[in-house]
Amino acid sequence: MKTYVVRLADGETIEVGVEAQGDDLILTQGDVKHRLDLRRLPGAMMHMLVDGQASYDAVVEWAGDDSDPFDGRVNVLVSDRVYALDVLDHRRVRMRDAVGGEDEASAGAVHAPMPGKVLRYLVEPGDQVVAGQGLVVVEAMKMENELAAAGDGQVEALHAELGSNVEKGALLVSVMALGDV
């Protein structure tokens, strides 16, 4: 049996054991076992028959960075809900813990939530900003979208050139949290 460690959206982790039995998989969670008859369908879809009875479509999309062996981020669609999980096998979780944990996300950065054009900046480096204050306006699909500061702080730098087209996830504005100023 192989064990996977799953981190749920709320940070809680659970362990699930898996073993193959014929064409089915046996999943063990605590002292409960379930039989899974899983069929892959075109387009990343799969169909699950749980304990030979309950029927579900699901889509599993691995969202992690391929070059990082400790990045197990995955988005799973069941019904009309998407669940963001982190799934690593037991061995890799131990290795990750030994190496010293995950990267820290930069706290006060505003990234482009979609591809678009940087229309205008509403702040300059050095400006003090408060949570919810607009920092930059990005145009996508003819709509102007104002992106706001997540917390109080000081604007460190403006990263994308004014008027330039940026990709989704591009760093636009970095903000130092107040405590770091």
């Binding site: 899983l38 799934v87 979609m114």
Partner: protein, 506 residues
């Protein structure tokens, strides 16, 4: 402008281009699509009998270039052009140039577009015709300073709106004088980018009105009827997302009054074809003229469901000079219809557009379900155009049946590859407020937020699916990896395989 039309060029893309072509097919008419470079394999191009490349990427380089559209019509011998909605559909210049070239526009006369297209002019025409309007500035406002003076006399909160506007673009709500400068600049800039006209005007902001509109249909022989109302109060970012007909709020007296005013408004500008008169209504059932859209609306299917009429068919018939086949007293409606717009957007992130590639698509079907989608598996939803991927409409014998059916159909919708608002739409139609019919334009934000509340109903299944998928993948890759060479302890077998595969060093 008469004589039977043989071949229709649709100067649009996406779901509306398909919707128009479907009726053309049913009427035995030829269809011509036009397309930009990114739309080479779009569904509307594949559906049409003929398709002409416009070149260019953005709308401004393709779907908005009048000369290119006319050249495409001439090349294919199309004798009529259907503009759909958006793009050139309300452009009087386009209408005039088609007239010059002897091509029939399936739409109103340029004079009607001009009178209604400019919101401040439309207000003046409506006031003259005795149609009630929302209090506001008499014409476009020169600058932010003048706006402050005007706004203070009209009273806050106030809406800054693009004079040439529509579709919620170039529109800002302002609560007080101090915020007016910024809103004025933003509305101007959006108006300039969207309509090439940066004039803006002010209108009093009605607190939580309902947005109700009336469909009208007029021929070239002086006949004009209304096809009842549509309720469009469920909006986000000033754009409609759920529409229905009839409105749960409108009683028979209000329906008659609104219908009469809508016909009066259409007649005041000599309207021909299908058009929509939009009203704002307050809780006391007072209603004010908001604007007239001189084109087919996105949400026209709900009217088609309850009246049994094909609005595109009547647009075409009227455009070739036919007389409307019915009088107002011949018209009635049956049952209830609800439509939901499926967008590539992220409700949890303020309904921001979420472009991407549709990897897998399963659209709903079954009794009384209509899916007008403009995409298929493999379609890319680009930041260049509107992020709507489909409108889903249903019919039921009564409102409750229609709502249950819409929820059922939304649950069948599967879009893989990008983020959509489907789950949000389901939450919206299932709220007590929506079901009771007691809601207004403040619904999104007041009753329901974009971000979904925690719902872990399916979480354990998501966990099992992910773990099972990881297990099968690891098993397969370990087998393959073992065939290559013994592993090093730092990288797992499947990761190594992934690296080798992508690096091409095998």
């Amino acid at each position: 402008m008469s004589g039977p039309i043989q071949k229709v060029l649709v100067a649009n893309r996406g779901e509306i281009a398909l919707r128009v072509m479907r009726t053309c097919r049913e009427m035995g008419l030829g269809t011509v699509a036009v397309f930009s470079e990114p739309d080479r394999t779009a569904l509307h191009v594949r559906y049409a009998d003929e398709a002409i490349a416009l070149g260019g990427e953005t709308s401004a380089e393709s779907y908005l270039v009048i000369d290119k559209i006319i050249a495409a019509a001439q090349k294919t011998g199309a004798d009529a052009i259907h503009p759909g909605y958006g793009f050139l559909s309300e452009n009087p210049d386009f209408a005039r140039q088609l007239e010059t070239h002897g091509i029939i526009l399936i739409g109103p006369r340029p004079e009607a577009m001009e009178a209604m297209g400019h919101k401040t002019k439309a207000r003046a025409v409506m006031i003259a015709a005795g149609v009630p309007v929302v209090p506001g500035s008499e014409g476009p406002v020169e600058g932010p300073d003048e706006a402050v003076i005007e706004a203070e006399s009209i009273g806050f909160p106030i809406m800054v709106k693009a004079a040439a506007g529509g579709g919620g673009k170039g529109m800002r709500r302002v609560a007080e004088s101090s915020a007016l400068h910024a809103a004025f600049a933003a509305a101007q800039s959006e108006a300039r980018n969207s309509f090439g006209d940066d004039r803006v005007y002010l209108e009093r902001f009605l607190d939580r009105p309902r947005h109700i509109e009336v469909q009208v249909l007029a021929d070239t022989h002086g006949n004009c009827v209304h096809l009842f109302e549509r309720e469009c109060s469920i909006q986000r970012r000033h754009q409609k997302i759920i529409e229905e007909a009839p409105s749960a709020f409108v009683d028979e007296a209000m329906r008659k009054a609104m219908g009469a005013v809508a016909v009066q408004a259409a007649k005041a500008v000599g309207y021909v074809g299908a058009g929509t008169v939009e009203f704002l209504a307050d809780a006391q059932r007072n209603f004010f003229f908001l604007e007239m859209n001189t084109r087919l609306q996105v949400e026209h299917p709900v009217t088609e469901w309850i009246t049994g009429l094909d609005l595109v068919e009547w647009q075409i018939r009227v455009a070739q000079g036919e007389v409307l086949g019915f009088k107002q007293e011949d018209l009635s409606f049956e049952g209830h219809s609800v439509e939901a717009r499926v967008y590539a957007e992220d409700p949890a992130a303020g309904f921001m557009p979420a472009p991407g590639t549709i990897e897998h698509l399963h659209v709903p079907s079954g009794p009384y379900v209509r899916d007008d989608s403009g995409v298929s598996a493999g379609s890319e939803v680009t930041p260049l155009y509107d992020p709507m991927i489909s409108k889903l409409s249903v019919w039921g014998r009564d409102r409750a049946t229609a709502i249950a059916r819409l929820d059922r159909a939304l649950a069948e919708y599967k879009v893989v590859g990008l983020t959509t608002n489907i789950s949000f739409l389901r939450r919206a139609v299932m709220t007590e407020e929506f079901r009771s019919g007691d809601f207004d334009t403040g619904f999104v934000g007041d009753v329901i937020e974009g971000a979904a509340p925690v719902d872990d109903r399916y979480e354990h299944l998501a966990v099992w699916a992910a773990v099972a998928d990881a297990f099968l993948r690891d098993q397969k890759l370990e087998t393959q990896g073992a065939q290559r060479q013994a592993g090093d302890a730092g990288v797992s077998a499947w990761r190594r395989y992934a690296l080798v595969g992508s690096g091409g060093h095998s």
